[in-house]
């Protein structure tokens, strides 16, 4: 028996002989890699050099980024790598699709296992060597342009490893697809199917959850297709791009370490996918019979599973397409009737097409017709799981004993948060998730329960709620997210039990995690104190004193306080120097006496209300003349001509200003119902025609305003 030792002369001879028969695919691989890597880098760097009026340092940075974009962790070359992996796999095992070649190879004195491994390893060898050579050439080209540093070199080396991992995954997946297929076109379709099926299902089901689950917490930054190499490749490129941008395109070893840590979990999963697919493919090759050449999908159970997965996905996608096309709501006719009808039609059609394609015969479309109702039923069951919430997703409330801690925060809060790096704000939700550890799960669940009751009575016209996210950190390590609508008239004592605690404050307020800001409190930093109508500036070195006052005041913070009154001011901490992009808000409530005293002491306190003497005019606009939005249901009124009235009379101006509140210094806890949405108030003040936006407090519209803007 021929030797299978990896280092034996016989093995090398076999590999050499096999390689010699794969010249064209080697040429294609080499050319593709050469064009993408060294030539791509050459073109990008020379193009960068053509940019005029850039400093040498800036040019060096731009060139390094150009190289990084082509061969660094951020590169998009993984698409090419995957295509080449597929080509090498398909060409290597192409003989399995042809009886003539099977007769030739299978009658020769070589075991099936040895043949499989020889071809499998040959594809890896070809790519590994060619990619190493092309990356070496690329590195040399970059160095010749003077664009090389230790950091960049290390990044390229790590990226080479990642390329190999991506290649191995795509290669193994394609080989597995070949093992399950009897012809080249079907193998290509199967490879695409395996590469994309989880991603596509995750995308479609996520969309369904978004449509039908009221408590579904949609956050694209969370991984949702764990087994997909494509997803991890895209995700790594995107996440590292964020890091590089945050570092102002200057990569240090520390940043490189961060990039590697960001990519590593996805890379390990991709590697695991490669190993699993390789093992299954190896087993399938052993089981595969020569007479299956020319068939479509050779293992019957796989054929049935693939058909079901594809046709159900098509059916679900059909319904989704209709929903997205009409941009409708989850309770309308489209969702109730249109989607099921479309899903049925697409399900039937996809079954017919599947059979016709797999049999290479349009007349075979009706074969295995019994599978059509199976597809439709499965698609319907899935659809119904979402539409009717069969498994009680929206009623989910974990057992308290199974939750180790929680986080509760406003979804899509517009404020920015910073951690170690001031050049980049962190994702708001991630910040809360990292820093907010509420151990009194019972209180949080009580809030969730009340929110669920509110959501059951929900209709789209309502605005009296807070959109919030609750995170349950389960004792088994899982993290469960739910989006809830907290009614603005929720039991305030209940809310205060959570909000007034230090666990909430430490997770919600930036000042508790401000080490980096404190270190940065220098000349580059400034404090901007804003009221609704004006701003004043103060030097950054006041920050350390400000934070002490603010921390003291936060001890008084409660939901009752934040939800019943607007802030008096907001202190904005800014640093827009070279390595910083800091911009955070500290909201100041009337009860924050220490902070207010600090502001007054430093002459940077702005009076809460704009002095009437400074107001030139007030313009009030009524968007629904003749109606009262506080009493009437306005959801059916789509468009009306608004009515505006400008007031200059000091008496009327003073009266109006008593009842307005600024939109510009609210922190999100003041409910929408605090404002009247029917009127807007523009206040013109000062010398330079500045104007500020205000709104009337609900139920406080002066009578003369109503009359003046009624018709």
């Amino acid at each position: 028996m021929m030797s299978v030792n990896l280092f034996s002369a016989e093995y090398r001879k076999q590999q050499k002989e096999l390689t010699a028969r794969r010249i064209w695919v080697i040429v294609v691989t080499a050319l593709s890699l050469l064009i993408y890597y060294p030539i791509g880098v050459f073109v990008l760097v020379t193009r960068t050099h053509s940019y005029g009026y850039v400093t040498d340092v800036e040019m060096q940075r731009m060139c390094a980024q150009a190289v990084r974009n082509q061969i660094g962790i951020q590169q998009q070359g993984f698409v090419l790598v995957m295509i080449l992996a597929a080509i090498l796999a398909l060409q290597g095992f192409d003989f399995l699709f042809h009886r003539v070649q099977l007769d030739f190879y299978e009658s020769q004195p070589m075991s099936r296992k040895q043949r499989f491994h020889m071809i499998f390893q040959n594809g890896i060898l070809i790519f590994t060597l060619l990619s190493a050579v092309t990356l070496l050439i690329t590195t040399v080209v970059s160095a010749l342009f003077g664009v090389m540093s230790m950091e960049l070199l290390m990044e390229i080396l790590y990226e080479y490893l990642r390329i190999i991992i991506v290649f191995l995954a795509a290669y193994s997946v394609t080989v597995l697809a070949v093992m399950l297929s009897g012809s080249l076109p079907i193998a290509i379709i199967m490879a695409a199917f395996f590469m994309g099926i989880e991603y596509m299902y995750a995308f479609v089901l996520r969309y369904y959850a978004r449509i039908f689950f009221k408590t579904f917490s949609d956050d694209t930054s969370r991984a949702f297709a764990w087994g997909s190499p494509v997803y991890h490749a895209v995700n790594s490129a995107r996440n590292t791009a964020d890091l590089v941008t945050a570092e102002n395109y200057t990569i240090s070893m520390k940043t490189l370490g961060q990039m590697i840590r960001t990519c590593l979990p996805g890379d390990l999963i991709t590697l695991a996918v490669a190993v699993i697919c390789y093992l299954i493919a190896s087993k399938c090759y052993h089981q595969r019979k020569a007479e299956w050449a020319g068939k479509a999908i050779v293992f019957q159970p796989v054929r049935a599973i693939v058909k079901l997965l594809v046709t159900v996905l098509a059916s679900l996608s059909g319904g989704l397409f209709l929903y997205a096309f009409y941009n409708t709501d989850s309770t309308g006719m489209i969702a109730r009737i249109g989607m099921p009808v479309t899903m049925t039609c697409v399900g039937i059609l996809s079954c017919l097409i599947f059979e016709a394609v797999l049999n290479y015969n349009i007349r075979a479309a009706l074969r295995k017709a019994w599978q059509i109702p199976v597809t439709v039923i499965v698609a319907f069951l899935i659809f119904n799981c979402y539409r009717a919430d069969t498994f009680g997703y929206d009623q989910y409330l974990p057992k308290i004993s199974s939750v180790s801690s929680c986080a509760l925060y406003l979804s899509n809060n517009g404020d920015s948060y910073y951690e170690d790096n001031l050049s980049r704000s962190v994702d708001t939700n991630e910040y809360y998730e990292r820093h907010m550890v509420l151990t009194d799960v019972q209180d949080v669940e009580d809030i969730v329960l009340e929110s669920m009751d509110y959501m059951k009575k929900w209709d789209d016209s309502r605005t009296d709620y807070y959109q919030a996210t609750v995170l349950y950190r389960m004792t088994d390590g899982r993290r469960v997210y739910r989006k809830i609508k907290i009614p603005s008239d929720i039991n305030k004592k209940l809310m205060d039990r959570v909000f007034a605690g230090s666990e909430f404050r430490k997770g919600y307020f930036q000042v508790y995690n401000d080490d980096a800001i404190l270190q940065d409190a220098s000349d580059n930093m400034q404090l901007v104190i804003r009221s609704g109508y004006a701003s004043v500036f103060a030097p950054g070195n006041l920050y350390s004193e400000l934070r002490k006052c603010y921390l003291n005041d936060l001890e008084k913070f409660s939901f009752s306080m934040a939800s019943t009154q607007p802030c008096t001011a907001v202190v904005e901490i800014q640093d827009f120097s070279d390595n910083s992009n800091l911009d955070v808000n500290y909201y100041v409530y009337p009860e924050f006496t220490n902070t207010i005293a600090f502001l007054k002491k430093n002459n940077i306190y702005l009076q809460e209300e704009i002095p009437v003497s400074q107001i030139r005019s007030v313009k009030v606009t009524n968007y629904y003349p003749g109606h009262d939005a506080e009493k009437e249901d306005m959801s059916n009124i789509t468009y009306m001509n608004s009515k505006s009235k400008e007031y200059t009379d000091p008496g009327k101006v003073a009266e109006i200003m008593k009842h307005v509140v600024s939109y510009q210094i609210t922190d999100g806890w003041l409910p929408d119902s605090y404002y009247n949405s029917q009127y807007s108030v523009e206040v013109a003040s000062g010398q330079n025609y500045d104007s500020s936006s205000y709104g009337f407090k609900t139920g406080e519209i002066p009578k003369f305003v109503k009359e003046d803007t009624a018709k």
């Binding site: 002989e17 070649q101 007769d103 030739f104 009658s107 020769q108 075991s111 099936r112």
Partner: protein
């Protein structure tokens, strides 16, 4: 020895080979005959280890052949549509096979190619169908294997080349005990080369006999009897398989040795009596008719 024991193979619910049991002795030419779809190629591909039987076993020298490289070093399979690497020449194929089969005789191959007027530097793709067949046969012979499995190998060969190949086979059998197994749908092609023939029909073996034995055991007699009494007397003593009459001329295919038949006819009065040689076709027709098959339609192409 090649042994197939109760071998079955089904393709898409169609039984291509149905319970075949046969033995092929070493150093004899075995002819595997049957119509298209009889299962010849399937059986041969199982012998070559390309296909795995659904049931039963195929062994070479008492070792199962499927996925057994040791056994496959002893066989060379010439498929009905042989594969050559794209853009390869005969020389390339020779080099490939010489790495696969340690006993491959490269010198002899080049010499034989010269003898058969095959240009070893020309691309195989440019060869005619017959030339490709010749190349396959030469590669097979020069590989030095004990068994040579040929699927429809003689189709497309002109009579001169066919004769040359037969001579080669004879030489190899004499020199190193080569055992060629030749599948064909044409009995006439195999008659003068095969020692043993297996007849396949609808996946099963109708017959598997040594040709010489069959010829010795069956006799074709033409005669004109002097009287009806003589006719009845002779017929009562013979094991008649087939009897045809044309006027007074009787033609019998009878089972028995030539000498025994001669003894019977010495005891009756005949106007004309002659024992004729039986062709392989006639033997098969006679044997299979006895078991109820009308093989004329599928043997005589």
């Amino acid at each position: 020895m090649i042994e197939a024991l109760n071998v079955e193979k089904t393709f898409d619910r169609v039984k291509a080979v149905n319970g075949v049991t046969l033995k092929i002795q070493d150093a004899e030419v075995f002819g595997l005959v049957g119509t298209n779809g009889a299962g010849k190629s399937t059986l041969l591909r199982m012998m070559a280890g390309v296909l795995i039987p659904d049931h039963g076993t195929v062994c070479l020298d008492q070792r199962p052949v499927y996925d057994n490289p040791e056994v496959k070093r002893d066989l060379f399979f010439i498929a009905d549509d042989a594969y050559f690497f794209p853009n390869s020449t005969a020389m390339d194929m020779m080099q490939y096979y010489s790495r696969i089969y340690p006993c491959f005789d490269t010198e002899r191959f080049q010499k034989l190619c010269g003898g058969f007027e095959l240009d070893v530097t020309r691309k195989v793709a440019d060869y005619s169908k017959g030339m490709k067949k010749q190349l396959s046969i030469l590669l097979g012979i020069c590989s030095g294997t004990k068994y040579l499995l040929c699927d429809e190998t003689f189709d497309g060969l002109d009579p001169v080349v066919r004769q040359g190949v037969k001579s080669l086979f004879a030489g190899e059998m004499a020199d190193r005990g080569l055992t060629p197994v030749i599948a064909s749908h044409n009995l006439r092609e195999l008659e003068d080369i095969c020692d043993h023939v297996g007849l396949l029909h609808k996946g099963g073996v109708l017959l598997s006999e040594n040709i010489e034995d069959m010829k010795l055991e069956l006799q074709k007699v033409q005669c004109v009897f002097a009287s009806e009494q003589d006719q009845h007397k002779a017929e009562d003593q013979m094991d008649i398989m087939v009897h045809e009459t044309r006027g007074r001329l009787h033609t019998y295919t009878v089972r028995g040795k030539r000498s025994d038949i001669e003894v019977i006819f010495r005891g009756v009065d005949t106007v004309f009596f002659e024992i004729l040689a039986l062709s392989l076709e006639e033997i098969f027709i006679s044997e299979t008719e006895v078991v109820g098959y009308d093989v004329r339609k599928f043997i005589l192409s």
